[in-house]
Amino acid sequence: MAQDTARNRLQSGMKKAAALPIEIGVQLWKSVFRHGLPLTDKIATRTALTNYWLHAHPPRIRKSHMKFSYTFCLGGISFFLFVLLTVTGLFLMFYYVPSVQYAYQNMKDLQYAVSFGIVMRNLHRWGAHAMVITVWLHMCRVFYTGSYKPPREFNWGIGVTLLLMTLLLSFTGYLLPWDQLSLWAVTVGTNMAKYAPLAGPQTRFSMLGSYTVGNATILRFYVAHVLGLPLVAAIAMMVHFWRVRKDGFSGNL
């Protein structure tokens, strides 16, 4: 009898030990998501409702609003590209000094000396081009589905601001490599500001920090590119997403 009990204890102990990883796994999931695995409708809804990272999503969504051919995920992709550009941009900042003296040499370093430097630069550059395109297409999608109509008029305006921020971010970044392409693209671009009525030349001077594109311009564009514009864009994005959430998805044409 005593042996049997010992064997039973051993068996149940082994069973418990075998179940432990699963138990810990479930506990881990619960500690992160505050609810169990989303196996039932109710648990899944509550998980979405009570999670910090998921609270930008509605807890429930209509099946018709999930149609890919309605949104083409363009807004989400634009946001993903913004995040990707922030991450690659941070990496590039470690190797970049915004001055006439160093900027171009830093580009060469990224290309030939820094591990994965050129991949990061390529990701940053092509990601930026892609973002201009996806934000533009997102605007077209919102227009053609009539999603700018009440109650979303204001959010459309925020969206136009975000398109503008995207263009300005891309334009300010264009100068930073300090090659012939940068210098003359920015010279041509800022020349247009000269024609503003009343304070045209002054507008251009305050953009460039000088009469010509030079050291002061690099610094100004750099600060705007890594701090000012992303900050404005991030705030506009917070409002944009919040309004999408509160006004509801348009869907259902």
């Binding site: 999503h57 099946k63 999930m66 992709i77 671009g189 348009s250 259902n252």
Partner: protein
């Protein structure tokens, strides 16, 4: 499942989003949902009254987690992989060091401003450089307030769609011309070939 949907707590008042526009969840939305979700009609046990309500509201809601989150993850993954593939193969341009004393011909703005630059070569600079961009930005922001047509359906919005499409075609065409067809002194590339 349907019962559970009904009993789900609704603390924010948005847990079951209602159709935004009256009549919007009509036949089109219902049909789309029915094709998109093969599981929807698989409820033969429901009593007639409930079946009726299900048919009426075939566009049922599902929890956004994990379905929507999963889709966002997949979309990010696809974009990330494609972009990384491009970044590994296509190199970013890096010309020689900036030289203020050597103006290239033609000097071109970034491609998304080349439409403006093309416009600048055709009309007075105050129009292309200032008036037109200001008009476009102000016009876009004001558009939802000026558009008094309440319908969202394309067949009711012919004028709006024609105007907007015109704007899109115009901007894309000008950007393409500026990018691909302009050479020395902002003349057509083929002018050089034809000896003009």
């Amino acid at each position: 499942m349907a019962d559970e949907n009904e009993s789900t707590p609704n603390p924010e008042g948005v847990a079951r989003p209602d159709p935004i526009t009256p009549g919007a969840s009509g036949a089109a939305g219902g049909a789309a949902a029915a094709t998109a979700t093969p599981t929807a009609p698989a409820k033969p046990a429901a009593p007639p009254a409930q079946r009726q309500s299900l048919k009426k509201d075939a566009d049922t809601s599902i929890p956004s987690f994990p379905a929507l989150v999963y889709r966002e993850f997949i979309a990010s993954l696809v974009v990330g992989v494609v972009l990384t593939a491009i970044a590994l193969v296509v190199q970013s341009p890096l010309q020689q060091l900036a030289d203020p004393s050597m103006t290239p011909d033609p000097s071109k703005a970034p491609w998304y401003f080349l439409g403006l630059q093309e416009l600048l070569s055709r009309v007075p600079p105050i129009t292309a450089g200032v008036a037109f961009p200001t008009f476009v930005i102000a016009g876009l922001i004001a558009m939802p307030y000026l558009d008094r047509n309440p319908s969202r359906h394309p067949r009711d919005r012919k004028v709006g769609i024609i105007l907007f499409t015109g704007f899109i075609v115009f901007s894309v065409a000008f950007a393409l011309i500026g990018t691909f067809f302009r050479g020395l002194e902002w003349k057509w590339y083929w002018d050089g070939i034809l000896g003009r």
